[in-house]
């Protein structure tokens, strides 16, 4: 359980970081909190030639009020968001989700950007930030771009990020005071990756209704028809949810499909009752 050899670099700024990644042409990996990469290095599943340590880049650490959204730096840790409870009006869901990720010792190091880039199908941020309609700001050595978080992940552990691109921040739209949200996970043990998960945001003021199912084979999947029904005040039956899941959540056996349907229904009930 010891990592294979790699070189280590700690760039001073984002530009140097993306340049180092570009020079390595796929042989380098960014290191943020190391809470996903560390285990993979120790298991020797990942064997990059170079680690580019971005954990202490100041420009990735800001939490800023952008008016109609909160700007969360990619290097912000889960623990910082957990502790921001009460300080992020319109984005309370972030604190709730952060609190439920892994364990405090992991949350103290693990980052939002690392979670999105790692793209574990069962991870919390790809699901929660898709439901929140967040936008990721991405920087490469030559130019920057934006992508909805819902379109960032293309498969298990796979994203649209190029080897030399880094997530810089995510912009999370602020919800109105009338907004409701729900977030439900089935975990065998607290802090473990869930077997099924779901996130929903219903905001009457913005006419937003977004519902996503997570912990599937690949990326979280949108369930827009169920979201609209929930906005109109109807919690769909488990059978209806299963029917809506069938085309987007392929490969599930009967038990898995039911588990996901229950997660979706409980998230919706939370939202409507909250």
């Amino acid at each position: 359980m010891k990592a294979a050899s790699f070189d280590y670099a700690r760039p001073r700024d984002l530009g140097e970081a993306t340049r180092l990644l570009a020079q390595a042409a796929g042989a380098a990996k960014a290191l943020a909190g190391g809470q996903s990469l560390g285990p993979m290095l120790n298991l020797r599943l990942a064997r990059p030639a170079l680690l580019v340590d971005i954990a202490r880049l100041e420009s990735l650490h800001a939490i800023a009020d952008g008016g109609d959204h909160w700007l969360i730096g990619a290097g912000v840790t889960h623990a910082r968001l957990e502790d921001a409870s009460g300080a992020l009006p319109g984005a309370e869901m972030l604190c709730h989700v952060a609190h439920g990720i892994a364990y405090r010792a992991v949350r103290n190091r693990g980052t939002v950007g690392g979670s999105l880039a790692h793209a574990d199908p069962a991870a919390d941020w790809p699901l929660a930030l898709a439901a929140l309609d967040a936008t990721a700001e991405i920087a490469g050595p030559k130019f920057a771009r934006r992508t909805p978080v819902a379109a960032l992940m293309t498969g298990a552990f796979t994203t649209v990020l190029a080897d030399d691109e880094l997530i810089v921040s995510v912009a999370v739209p602020k919800a109105s005071p009338q907004a409701r949200w729900g977030y439900y996970k089935f975990c065998r043990k607290p802090g473990e990756f869930p077997d099924a998960s779901a996130a929903v945001v219903l905001d009457p003021a913005r006419k937003v209704a977004r519902l996503y199912a997570g912990a599937l084979d690949g990326p979280p999947q949108a369930l827009p028809a169920l979201a609209a029904a929930a906005a109109a005040g109807t919690v769909p039956s488990l059978d209806d949810i299963e029917a809506a899941l069938a085309p987007v959540a392929r490969g599930l056996d009967d038990i898995d499909r039911r588990l996901h349907a229950v997660a979706v229904q409980r998230a919706l009930k939370q939202a409507i009752a909250r």
């Binding site: 010891k2 990942a46 405090r104 010792a105 379109a151 298990a156 552990f157 796979t158 690949g218």
Partner: protein
């Protein structure tokens, strides 16, 4: 070697470390601070928990080279800490340890719980302890020890009045604006239409995956093409043929899943039933780098799908063993297999119909399936065409 300067238990330390050395090994082997224990070495058990810049963290998945300038506190650094003295006393009184292996990590975590959550009840204590495993005590003693310290501290301060949360107004139903959620599926997959999935685990420990795709050529032609092994290998991202005859192939397959890069070398035998236009490929392979092994079979059958088109139904069954399997839940391999089929179908289609714009071009030989890159290449290609130059 990287030179680091850091503070450990209040003492300045300068050391030259190999970047790959994890922090716990550095503490134990370089500084001889063997109070930090190692259980799982991948972040799960909590035995290695220490304080990094004042906050508990796993030292097994941190690297010493990345700790330059940090201040660390291991269990040895708590000797003079008054709260830790209370916890030690309570752990002893409540029988919160037996073999002691988990104890350093438990104490560092307990210290954090008492400091951060002075009002924690038993439920919260148990939740906060979920990241520290103990094989001896059954946790009751540990939970009681932390409760004892919290209660003693509480007795020493005035109780904080509980603030009732304001009651939320009831939910008001509304009509959601129709918004097309961003497609999370890359464009190339739209045409690899998949059939109803079947997931009956045919053999114990094996995963089964049923998919299908349509090729716009008549069955007889597709049947012939599917007998062309070099062509198949060229369409399968990451595949390389080493040697083959009509029934046997030897080759390699590279897959890239996020930071994992595996290169399986293996062999397979092929059976083709001309009359039914159906075939089976059975094979096995292993990847030295990740120490993973896989065995699997692919069944395929052709059927006419309207005029001049063929539906190829594919059933894949496989088992995965070794580090890769240990790491990934079964759905990850399933997702990968499904994307490989989608990519294969798109590449096959592009080859059969070179006039049309290819979907994300076939991966260069030897390059594994890396969807991020493929989709990016595709977007760049589109932009280049739009602006008539290379982006």
């Amino acid at each position: 070697m990287t030179t680091i300067d850091l503070t450990v238990n209040g003492r300045s330390v300068t050391a030259a470390v190999e970047p790959r050395q994890h922090l716990a090994d550095f503490l134990r082997e370089h500084l001889r601070l063997t109070g930090t224990h190692l259980g799982c070495e991948h972040g799960v058990c909590g035995a290695c928990t220490i304080e990094m810049d004042g906050m508990p963290a796993r030292s097994c998945i941190a690297f010493a080279a990345a700790c330059d300038g940090m201040s660390l506190r291991t269990i040895e650094g708590f000797d003079e800490d008054p709260l830790m003295a209370e916890l030690r006393e309570a752990f002893s009184a409540e029988h919160a340890l037996q073999c002691g292996f988990c104890t350093p990590g438990m104490l560092v975590t307990a210290h954090d719980i008492v400091q951060r959550l002075p009002d924690a009840d038993e439920k919260r204590i148990r939740l906060e302890l979920a990241g520290n495993l103990c094989r001896c005590t059954g946790y009751a003693g540990i939970v009681n020890a932390i409760k004892r310290v919290l209660a003693a501290r509480k007795a020493g301060r005035t109780a904080s009045a509980a603030v009732a949360a304001p009651a939320a107004a009831p939910f008001v139903p509304f009509a959601a604006a129709a918004s097309a959620p961003a497609a999370a599926t890359p464009p190339a997959f739209a045409r690899a239409s998949a059939g109803e999935p079947g997931l009956a685990a045919a053999k114990a420990g094996w995963t089964e995956l049923v998919e299908s795709f349509v090729v716009r050529r008549p069955p007889a032609e597709v049947w012939r093409i599917l007998g062309d092994l070099p062509m198949i290998a060229a369409c399968l991202p990451g595949a390389e043929l080493d040697e083959h005859d009509a029934r046997n192939v030897k080759g390699r397959m590279r897959v890239k899943v996020g930071p994992i890069a595996a290169a399986f070398a293996g062999a397979a035998t092929i059976e083709r039933d001309e009359a039914r236009m159906a075939g089976t490929v059975r094979g096995a392979g292993s990847d030295g780098a990740t120490g993973s092994r896989t065995r699997g079979e692919v069944e395929y059958a052709l059927q006419a799908d309207g005029a001049g088109a063929t539906r190829v139904a594919v059933t894949i069954r496989y088992s995965l063993q070794g580090a890769l399997a240990q790491f990934s839940r079964s759905n990850v391999a399933r997702d990968l297999a499904r994307r490989l089929i989608g990519q294969f179908a798109a590449n096959l289609d592009a080859r059969l119909d070179p006039g049309r714009a290819a979907a994300p071009g076939p991966a260069a030989p030897g390059e594994g399936l890396d969807l991020g890159r493929l989709v990016w290449a595709w977007i760049k290609d589109r932009l280049a065409r739009l602006f008539g130059r290379n982006v």
